[in-house]
């Protein structure tokens, strides 16, 4: 998988914000089609309708003669042209209507005391039309500006709501982790005391068994085997407790400028034997120009190692692990992709929920801890997954300020 595809696949929440905004505006009764964006077709249509109507009215005006007042109806095509095709078309249709009125007046053999009177009447009519067109388009324009402002504010409000929701969720998560963490710590400590006693007593039994075997000259192999089994279980509990405690008492991160490339090159060496054993190929696509990040090397590696472990577990039959770094604004992106099983919807939904695990020997704290670390660093985790094709996790970590 190429670097480009690794990053373009990333989920972004902001992409679809425009559509709901439009929906909201239309439900509120605003027409969000911008004037500039109005199609040429609709403009032509409005113009054609306006001219046709104007010609029709002109014909009626001529047929009905001078006694029937028709002139007010000319407002109809004028307004249609102004609203549908813009101010200048409106002006043109106004002129056309005035001309028609004047022509039908003249052709019907009007006689006035002064020859200037019909000209004056025509000018009056034209001015009236022009004012109407001007007012109508001015209203339309201000309406459009209002729409725009509403649209902008709605978008801003929506962005703010999204951000607040995100923060609220982050806080909730942190709070839950805090409660879970202190509980985990309490439980772990409570278990460690009896476990300490069990461990010592096992050692004592071991000595006792050896002594007995020696005095009775009998084999103690079976007993030793059983003891070894018990010790390995004690060790397993110890390791689980260790993980709980690590999660519960995460120290404040000691952040400093850190070269991601160096960290990864150095630490990935330790992972290599595991990858070899699982027949997993490693592709490294590191951005050579990536500035240093602001991070605690041990904690960041712990977060990345959790993701790498999950990726390895997702490829039980071997596969390819891709680790890529990239600069993105003021953040560095580190993505870890596998071409393994991918996640089910349920797994994806519970990704960061503490104690949720799909592994038989997992504590369910790995990803929760990873998220805890990334949050502590002011970063975020995004992910994509496809059943049967694999998953990609991307960590964003702030770059060192001033780089």
């Amino acid at each position: 998988m190429g670097l480009a595809s690794v990053f373009t696949e990333k989920k972004t929440q902001g992409e679809q914000t425009c559509e709901p905004v439009c929906q909201i505006c239309s439900t509120l009764g605003f027409d969000v089609n911008r004037i500039e964006e109005r199609s040429v077709q609709s403009k032509v249509l409005a113009t054609v309708v306006a001219i046709a109507l104007a010609l029709f009215l002109g014909a009626i005006d001529y047929v009905t003669g001078r006694d029937w007042a028709i002139s007010a109806f000319y407002l109809l095509p004028t307004c249609i042209a102004a609203w549908g095709a813009g101010r200048w078309t409106g002006f043109a249709v106004s002129a056309l209507c005035t001309g028609e009125w004047f022509l039908s007046d003249m052709l019907n053999g009007a006689t006035y005391q002064s020859p200037l009177i019909p000209v004056w009447n025509g000018i009056m009519l034209l001015v009236f039309f022009l004012v109407v067109v001007w007012l109508l388009t001015a209203f339309q324009e201000s309406h459009y500006h209002l729409e725009q402002i509403v649209e902008q504010r709605t978008a801003a409000l929506r962005a703010e709501m999204e951000e607040r929701k995100r923060l609220e969720q982050a806080n909730l998560q942190a709070e839950r982790l805090g409660v879970v963490g202190s509980m985990a710590a309490q439980v772990a400590h409570e278990i460690r005391n009896p476990l300490g006693s069990i461990s010592l007593n096992l050692d004592l039994i071991g000595e006792e068994v050896d002594a007995l075997a020696k005095s009775n000259s009998r084999s103690s192999d079976e007993c030793r085997l059983l003891l070894r089994e018990m010790r390995s279980q004690v060790l397993r509990i110890t390791q689980v407790l260790q993980e709980y405690l690590q999660f519960a008492r995460m120290p404040r991160s000691a952040r400093a400028p850190l070269c991601l490339r160096k960290l990864l090159e150095e630490k990935l060496g330790f992972v290599q034997p595991l990858l070899d054993q699982k027949q997993i190929g490693l592709s490294k696509i590191f951005d050579p120009d990536l500035p240093p990040v602001h991070a605690d090397p041990e904690q960041l590696w712990e977060a990345l190692l959790n993701l790498i472990r999950n990726a390895v577990d997702a490829m039980p039959g071997g596969g390819n692990l891709t680790i890529a770094t990239k600069k993105n604004g003021t953040k560095a992106l580190v993505s870890i992709s596998d071409n393994g099983l991918g996640m089910t919807e349920e797994e994806a939904r519970n990704l960061f929920v503490p104690f949720f695990t799909t592994k038989t020997d997992g504590t369910g704290l790995g990803l929760a801890h990873t998220q805890q670390i990334v949050n502590e660093h002011g970063g975020r985790i995004d992910w994509t997954t496809k059943r049967g094709e694999g998953s990609t996790f991307t960590i964003q970590i702030p770059l060192e300020a001033g780089t």
């Binding site: 005391n193 300490g196 006693s197 069990i198 461990s199 110890t238 405690l245």
Partner: protein, 139 residues
Amino acid sequence: MQQSREKIMKDLLNKSVLVVDDDPGMLRAMTRVLSNEGMRVTGLSDPAEVVTTLAKSEPRFDLVITDLRMPMFSGRGVLAAANALPRLPVIIITAFGGADVKAQALQLGAFAFLEKPVAAAELINVVKRAVAVSPIREA
């Protein structure tokens, strides 16, 4: 194996150790492990008695092993009480571990810092080293 074992026995034989832990199971287990090595063990599950026990002239302790977080009286208190006596090494063995706690304990003068659960061999090893730095005390 037998040889090193005897050597340790010799190192620890008749040494006096005060073990403080509010968890009775842990206290019993530690007492048994250390007695098996030939040490004279005084176990205290009530840390409040630490000061009076240490103040007594008999027995004189070569070593103190204490838990860190206990009700009423913390391992820090034990550490402080032990530090008041010249060259009495203190081993802290606790369920409440962590790098920062360890650093703090060592800075306060603890000889060693172990996290539960600990293997008998490891405990004995550390005890042996601690006793080696402790001056020989005649009973």
